[in-house]
């Protein structure tokens, strides 16, 4: 008679084997229910349209770290979606530690990096997300990128600068992922002919009149311009945008009642975007650290529209008293919100419409603020709006309008409600009952 322990062991092994087969079977025919609102596990229609336009073979090589299982699975799953959507896309994955030769050949030294190649052209993707990969595909095989110049020399945010409060290098990288080739341009007097987009990111010193004229002329000839102007911006910049029908109020938009959890109340929350201009934008949540409002005026040859407005709880401190003193609203002098903080101008011309966007703040593109709330998407949206006439009208992948614009804002009061309601109340109730029961037991 067989020993029962051996029999038991055999049974357990058999059951484990059966269950293992079931799991393996499931792995062969996976089915997914994607419940993310951005449908992160399906490629966005933007990416699919880009992929649909591909005619040549694309090879994507992924280098993963053997230590980080879930990340690797994310990346391989994502690349598998590309492969499934477009047979021209071929994907290979290597463990970076075990394949140093291949990594060296492709110039890769960091974990979780991918390289996208089409023919001779090669593009490295440092963070494997849908937008980065699609951006890389665009770069190697898609539509030519938009050459973007950030004007420097007047105290603007420099795209080569890595300083937290002053640098726009993060912004440059974000734009690059969308197919904007960002370079710095010393002075705006001589704008290169290949400039697809010019950005004036918060100048603090006056531009020369020649530069202003050059910019106006470029727009009139069908050029694309973004002007980011902080409160206190120099006169020449005010004149520049005035030529496009936008008058900067030189005030400070304050938002104390709607003060965000973790902020100082002096930042302006952008809550409305003009849906006539930007379709597919459910909500906007950008936070402009120090913004001025603006007003549309008549200007020859320019059709201006408001692009973005702040929340109802904001008001404009006309004399810009903060942060030196704690401002209080003065009826009759200060203005109530919602306040316009961005405008979009169209300058029709024979060579195609020139387009300008004016935003009442430039700090939101700095490294410190770019990733706060929806700032990044505000930048990208305006860049797309201005620079691409035939912008793909499809919904973009996550981190683009549609996904990120639903980011959360929470006032300090709200946060307290969450704390007491979610952290303290439920657990305290149960612990009190426990205490009561324990006492009853002891006395019983």
């Amino acid at each position: 008679m067989r020993r029962p322990a051996v029999l038991l062991g055999a049974q357990v092994a058999a059951v484990a084997a059966i269950l293992g087969c079931l799991v393996a079977l499931a792995a062969l025919h996976p089915r997914r229910l994607d419940l993310t609102p951005e449908r992160r596990f399906t490629l966005s229609s933007y990416t699919r349209e880009i992929l649909g336009r591909l005619t040549n073979d694309i090879r994507i090589t992924l280098f993963y770290s053997s230590q980080a299982g879930p990340v690797r699975r994310d990346m391989t799953d994502l690349l598998a979606l590309y492969r499934d959507a477009q047979p021209h896309v071929h994907v290979r994955a290597y463990d970076l530690d075990r394949s140093p030769g291949i990594a060296k050949r492709l110039g890769v030294s960091a974990y979780n990096t991918a390289v996208v190649e089409a023919g001779e052209r090669r593009e490295q993707v440092d963070v494997v997300t849908e937008e980065a990969v699609t951006g890389a595909i665009l770069a190697v095989a898609g539509t030519p990128p938009v050459t973007t110049y950030f004007v420097v020399g007047h105290g603007e945010h420099d795209p080569r600068d890595d300083g937290e409060r002053t640098g726009a290098s993060d912004a440059a990288r974000a734009l690059a992922a969308e197919g904007f080739r960002v370079q710095a341009l010393e002075g705006a007097a001589a704008l290169p002919s290949d400039a697809g987009l010019v950005v004036l990111a918060g100048p603090t010193r006056d531009l020369r009149s020649a530069e202003v004229d050059a910019l106006v002329a470029a727009v009139a000839a069908g050029g694309k311009l973004i002007v980011l102007a902080d409160p206190g911006t120099p006169r020449s910049v005010r004149d520049l945008v005035h030529r496009f029908g936008v008058e900067l109020a030189d005030d400070l938009v304050v938002d104390e009642r709607g003060q965000l959890f973790g902020t100082d109340g002096l930042s302006a929350r952008v809550t409305y975007m003009n849906e006539a201009l930007i379709a597919d934008v459910p909500e906007v949540r950008a936070l402009l650290p120090e913004a001025q409002s603006m007003r549309l005026v008549d200007a020859a040859g320019a059709n201006a529209d408001y692009l973005a407005m702040t929340a109802d709880t904001t008001w404009a401190d006309v004399d810009r008293r903060a942060p030196d003193t704690a401002p209080a609203f003065r009826p009759g002098r200060d203005r109530h919100g919602p306040l316009p903080v961005a405008a979009f101008v169209r300058v029709p011309s024979a060579h195609g419409d020139g387009r300008v966007v004016v935003v009442g703040d430039s700090d939101f593109v700095t490294i410190l603020y770019l990733n706060v709330l929806g700032n990044r998407d505000l930048l990208l949206t305006t860049a797309e709006l201005v620079a691409r006439a035939d912008a793909v009208a499809a919904a973009r992948p996550a981190a683009q309008p549609g996904g990120t614009f639903s980011a959360l804002t929470l006032t300090a009061r709200d946060a307290r409600l969450v704390f007491w309601g979610a952290v303290v109340l439920p657990s305290a109730t149960l612990l009190l009952v426990a205490l009561a029961l324990a006492r009853r037991r002891r006395f019983a």
Binding site: A5, P30, L408
Partner: protein
């Protein structure tokens, strides 16, 4: 009412009559609430990234840890206490199958966990009231938590059938679950061929999808298989009295 329901009900009444279940519930809600609040704070400040990736993923990954901490303490008494008291022997003289006993006890732990989990909805509800958001990723997250709970409880129940000491049962459960978690951390040590196979077996990897708002059939099947395996073990363990004695 089937016998399993009778056993389940008695167990639940016994659990709720003592302070332990309430303390565990309080701890569970305190920790999950705290994680929810701090993940939310982080997201509001640094956010901008999409909500599922930036908030709910972290919330559910943290909830998973709380479940790991609390559930073995819920399951430890299921069979161990009965064995120690001698009531298990008596149960075996009733016209009831081992499977029914197992089901009843398992269900009781599951119901208790279900109540704890349901109570964590308070946080997202308050958030929704303040600022409506897309709810669907939460469905995936909670589905994952439910399935993970089933897996943990199955493991804990099996451990409880092996010993009459509740602490040993809890420790055994922790050992198995933590091992399932760490087993795939050091892939480099495991070897390239074995690694993908082991990855498939990692309990915690199979929760990741749910935390990101996706219900993947591979994950569902794995978690259910995990639970089924341990429930089978529990059944066999109960049946071992035939050749091992009480």
């Amino acid at each position: 009412m089937t016998k399993a329901v009778l056993v389940c009900r008695r167990e639940l009444v016994a659990m709720c009559g003592g302070p332990l279940a309430w303390v565990l519930g309080g701890v569970f809600l305190l920790l999950t609430g705290y994680f929810f609040y701090s993940d939310l704070a982080l997201f509001v400040l640094v956010g901008g990234a999409n909500q599922t990736r930036g908030l709910w993923r972290f919330v559910f990954l943290d909830y998973r840890l709380v479940a790991l901490l609390v559930l073995p303490l819920v399951t430890m008494r299921l069979f161990a206490e009965e064995r120690k008291l001698g009531t298990l022997e008596l149960l075996w003289t009733y016209p009831v199958r081992d499977g029914e006993l197992l089901t009843g006890k398992f269900l009781a732990a599951l119901v208790l966990y279900g109540v704890f989990l349901a109570a964590t909805v308070v946080g997202p509800c308050i958030l929704y009231y303040l600022h409506p958001f897309a709810v669907t990723p939460l469905l995936a997250g909670y589905a994952g938590m439910a399935l993970l709970g089933v897996a943990f409880i199955a493991c804990g129940t099996a451990a409880s059938t092996i010993t009459e000491n509740q602490i040993v049962a809890a420790l055994l459960t922790y050992a198995v679950l933590v091992f399932s978690w760490f087993a795939t951390w050091n892939e480099a040590a495991i070897g390239e061929r074995l690694a993908p196979a082991l990855l498939q077996l990692s309990l915690f990897d199979h929760f990741y999808g749910f935390a990101q708002g996706v219900i993947d059939s591979r994950d569902v099947v794995y978690l259910l298989a995990f639970a089924a395996f341990f429930l089978f073990l529990a059944l066999r363990s109960l049946g071992a009295r035939t050749w091992r004695g009480l």
